[in-house]
């Protein structure tokens, strides 16, 4: 088997048995990136020389006993909205085309502390706004299963790179589904942790009350391991939770006997593709077979979640993106008459259409006279959504839904229909609204061989429950062993 086909825990085994070396791994990945990047277009920045040098250095230190650590020398890819000191952090925007952060995000620090090697920064929808990665200023990432289709978004670069074996695992960020939906489209595993579990310090903010960083991996064990690395309290993030450390890998028992799974019927209604429904039905049957108790229930409020999400997310974004004004860093228009002109032109030229649309929406819903009707009302609905989920978790351990109403769609098919694009988030946004953890794993493929994703939602800080439910399904169905991306042209 090729090195790049291995999961991280498999790489660890082979490093331990000295079958392969740290430099072997990085070399293999750099080679793979060189082979596939032309087709997939997953990277904004590839750190070829840096990674090779680092691999040599870490290899030496491990051999001489200077460093230990189970992750030393394992490579990773990082979504390009997490700040990396000395390396460009562009958010796939013209606004930050040449921006180099003076500091590392907390998650990047944690990655570095483990001596994990950064292979590069991964493409995304501009400022994480979008569901197809087509809103990147730099390039359109392709779906490794079919290069004519989108990888999903906004963490499309991360999901595609993992699916194409260009990185063993990656970090993504999820505000309304940006980890789970591309993971579903690319047939990989993506976890959005509970709001507050992973520090947001150094994640370029889209919507502060919704953003979370999480792992995108080849399998559930890797997701649990990467979550082990990045989770934890950070005093630099006031919204980060102060909880005892958990080893998530210990939760993976492969046993779901007695697990109570709720299936909200609203997530299987109109607008959900029939093949997706069928695949999920099969998954439900599988869980029953494995000893779980599955029951249908109603999560009525969910239909308001999408509107609520777009109001809150855009409101926060309109304020968060104010700092990109052409004054201190980022894009500045070459010619301007006065201060207002400098602002207007820099922001008009520096931001793409979807970012502008959301800034305008967000500015509108916060404006005096409209605040109560939109923002305030959305906050009330948000509370109702949380309450409804709470009620659900009184009865169920896990809530099971499709990750996305469809499989990956064709490139260019929705870029001119923003509302249709927004509908792709319909299954995922309520999880962010309620601050819950959600994981997407492949449930099967459709008739064209495109992966279908299943979302498992847990109660707050119950990552262990959904990880084990996902792991058990994965072990029982062996998706990775049976399906591989074909790079169809």
């Amino acid at each position: 088997m090729e090195i790049t086909e291995l999961t991280v825990h498999e790489l660890q085994d082979k490093l331990k048995s000295k079958e392969i070396s740290i430099t072997d791994i990085t070399k293999a990945y750099i080679e793979r990136i060189e082979q596939k990047e032309n087709d997939v277009q997953a990277f904004v920045t590839v750190l070829k020389d840096e990674a090779l040098e680092q691999a040599k250095d870490i290899q030496e230190k491990v051999e001489t006993g200077k460093i230990k650590g189970e992750f030393a020398g394992i490579p990773i890819g990082i979504k390009d909205n997490m700040c990396t000191k000395g390396i460009k952090t562009t958010c796939s925007s013209r606004m930050l085309e040449n921006f180099i952060s003076p500091y590392d995000a907390t998650v990047v620090e944690k990655i570095k502390n483990e001596n994990i090697i950064d292979l590069g920064k991964l493409n995304m929808d501009e400022f994480a706004m979008g569901g197809s990665t087509e809103y990147s200023y730099f390039k359109k990432t392709k779906n490794p299963w079919n290069l004519n289709k989108v990888p999903g978004g906004s963490s499309g670069g991360s999901a595609a790179a993992v699916a194409a074996n260009m990185v063993p695992w990656a970090l993504g960020s999820d505000t309304g589904g940006s980890i789970r939906q591309p993971s579903s489209f690319c047939g990989v595993v993506g976890l959005k942790p509970t709001y507050g579990l992973v520090s947001r310090y150094g994640l370029v903010a889209f919507a502060s009350s919704l953003d979370q960083i999480g792992p995108i991996t080849k399998d559930v064990q890797d997701a649990a391991m990467l979550l082990n690395i990045i989770a934890g309290h950070d005093e630099r993030d006031s919204t980060s939770a102060n909880r005892e450390k958990v080893d998530y890998t210990k939760a993976l028992t492969g046993n779901v006997k007695g697990l109570k799974i709720g299936v909200p019927k609203e997530f299987f209604g109109e607008g959900i593709n029939e093949e997706v429904k069928a695949s999920l039905q099969k998954a439900i049957e599988k869980y029953k077979e494995l000893g779980a108790q599955v029951e249908e229930f109603s999560l009525d409020i969910a239909k308001y979640a999408l509107a609520t999400y777009y109001i809150i997310a855009c409101a926060e974004a309109s304020s968060n993106l104010g700092r990109f004004d052409g004054i201190r860093y980022g894009y500045r228009t070459p010619e301007y008459k006065d201060l207002k002109d400098l602002y207007r032109k820099s922001r008009s030229e520096g931001f793409g259409p979807e970012v502008k649309r959301r800034i305008i929406l967000g500015t509108y819903v916060l404006s005096s006279g409209y605040y109560d009707a939109y923002y305030k009302k959305a906050q009330k609905v948000r509370t109702l959504v949380m309450n409804e989920f709470n009620k659900g978790f009184e009865k169920y351990d896990v809530i099971l839904t499709p990750t996305s109403p469809t499989v990956a769609f064709d490139l260019g098919s929705k870029t001119n229909a923003p509302l249709e694009m927004y509908l792709a988030d319909i299954c995922t946004v309520s999880v962010n609204i309620a601050g819950l953890p959600g994981i997407s794993i492949p449930s099967g493929v459709d008739s064209e061989g495109m992966p279908i994703g299943m979302q498992l939602i847990g109660n707050r800080f119950c990552e262990e429950t959904i990880l084990n439910a996902a792991y058990t399904y994965q072990q029982a169905t062996k998706f990775r062993e049976n399906h591989k991306p074909e790079f169809k042209k």
Binding site: N81, M82, C83, T89, C91, L96, F99, S101, P102, Y103, A105, R200, Y201, G202, L203, V204, A205, A207, S208, S209, E235, R236, D237, S238, T239, A315, E316, S318, S319, G322, R323, F324, D325, I327, R328, Y329, L339, Y343, T363, L366, S367, S368, Y371, Y375
Partner: protein, 478 residues
């Protein structure tokens, strides 16, 4: 109608920089006067991805200010974003408090010519200061200095209870002294750490409806507040008397021309789009927390004043002047501790020290010497080591280059001549040089004695002990 037919309504929004060591949302130092952008970090420069963490001291200081001004402390408060674009505001929003300020519904008392008057406070909230723009030093360009960005502020909003320029000044002085006493702000007005936005309107006497107000921004001296209000009141009355209408606008007071000018045009009417800052959590205070702060409050100016009236028999006016500033009051108490002569300390503070402060436009906090040195100076006078006129020179020296007064007089050779032999020698010399005055004195002109003493002082450059001179002359002329 005449000016007497109008009533003036004034409200003040006072901004005070809090004297915390570090900024409100990061750990950069708050010290004033650093080279541009040396007291900054990714957080206060609003680098992408950074997050604010509230400095707990800021809450403590604001609660102190609230308790010292009789406010109700809100147990459940939060931070909001005030969104607007300006180059000195790096995040394009200021973190402030909108509908849930930390402190509400307080009051302070001021002294007016008609007695005590209560001025109510609507609210006190915490917020961050913005940076500063340098327009002048670089031809054609404006450069941004973010050292001040993120320095904690409290904004204290009064009710429109103030009805004259004098009352506005008294209120501002009162707030300043309270903040100094509770040590939450150094209140250096020249450095902008205490400044006020002044709202002024006029209405005809008896009218229940308030007139249209104008707002003068960023006033940072008592004198300009008083002048600006007087000018603005006159201007508004003139506008009304001429049949016009006062426009609601923001004004800039120009100290040089003594006039106000409109600052922004109306089409710029700002919508700040306040909303709760999702990066910060709610501020919840326990009763115990607030009570502990209440117990820790030091003696406030009003109470010190009463004590001075009682213990030191100071006049109301003197006691008010000394207690108006914590630094003067501390100086007063320390000096008394050292020299045990309250009357002399009082006199030095209200006369010579106040005069120098006025002449040099110095704030009491900037007095370079301490009560120990002032007390020692008074001991030297009381012991007869130096005369009062030498003491004044020592005081000036204390302002210039503060050190032990004894050291100063030794170094300068200002020690009083109190040696009987030496005095006698001088007296005899003066007598022999001034036969006319001697004759005058003997002829009953007592004034001549003063002239002779003056001559002796002149010859000794003020160092001769004046009492001894007086006595010696009298004896010699018997």
């Amino acid at each position: 109608m005449s000016r007497e037919d109008y009533e003036v309504v004034i409200g003040l929004e006072i901004h005070a920089e809090l004297a915390t060591k570090t900024k409100i949302f990061c750990s950069c130092p708050t010290k004033f006067g650093g080279s541009p952008n040396t007291q900054t970090c990714p957080i206060c420069m609003a680098m992408p991805g950074t997050l604010p963490v509230l400095n707990e001291k800021v809450v403590e200081y604001a609660v102190k200010a609230g308790l010292a001004t009789n406010c109700t402390i809100s147990k459940d408060s939060k931070n909001d974003r005030k969104n607007y674009f300006y180059p000195d505001l790096p995040k394009a929003y200021q973190i402030s408090q909108y509908d849930k300020p930390l402190c509400e519904h307080g009051y302070v008392e001021i002294d007016t010519e008609h007695g005590k008057k209560k001025i109510r406070l609507l609210r006190i909230h915490i917020e961050e200061d913005a940076g500063k723009l340098n327009h002048d030093e670089f031809a054609g360009d404006s450069l941004v200095d973010l050292n001040r960005a993120g320095v904690p502020l409290i904004e204290m909003v009064s009710e429109p209870d103030i009805s004259s320029a004098e009352e506005a000044e008294a209120y501002m002085r009162k707030i300043k002294s309270i903040l100094e006493y509770i040590e939450v702000s150094d209140c250096k007005m020249q450095e902008g750490s205490l400044r006020a936005d002044v709202n002024v309107s006029v209405k005809k006497k008896g009218d229940t409806k308030l007139g249209t107000r104008t707002e003068m921004k960023n006033m940072n001296s008592f004198k300009s507040i008083e002048r600006a209000i007087k000018y603005e009141v006159d201007r508004q009355i003139d506008v009304i008397e001429d049949g016009g209408k006062v426009e609601q606008e923001t004004l800039r007071w120009d100290d040089v021309s003594g006039k106000t000018f409109p600052m922004r045009d109306k089409e710029d009417a700002q919508d700040y789009r306040y909303f709760p800052d999702p990066d910060l959590v709610a501020i919840r205070l326990s009763d115990e927390y607030v009570e502990n702060i209440r117990k820790s409050l030091p003696e406030l100016p009003e109470s010190r004043k009463e004590r001075y009236l009682k213990d030191y028999k100071l006049s109301e006016k003197d006691a008010r002047l000394i207690t108006s500033s914590k630094y003067l009051s501390d100086l007063f108490e320390k000096a008394i501790e050292v020299c045990n002569n309250p009357k002399a300390v009082n006199n030095w503070i209200i006369s010579d020290i106040s005069r120098i402060l006025n002449e040099t436009e110095m704030d009491p906090i900037e007095i370079p010497f301490d009560g120990n040195q002032l007390g020692k100076l008074i001991i030297l006078i009381d012991k007869g080591t130096i005369s009062t006129s030498i003491a004044k020179k020592v005081l000036e020296e204390l302002f210039e280059n503060p050190r032990d007064p004894e050291e100063i007089i030794k170094e300068k050779g200002w020690i009083q001549i109190s040696d009987e032999g030496a005095i006698k020698e001088i007296v005899q010399k003066v007598l022999s040089e001034n036969p006319k005055s001697v004759a005058d004195y003997k002829a009953g002109k007592d004034k001549a004695l003063g002239y002779l003493v003056g001559q002796a002082m002149k010859q000794t450059k003020g160092k001769a002990n004046p009492q001894m001179l007086n006595q010696m002359f009298k004896e010699e002329l018997k």
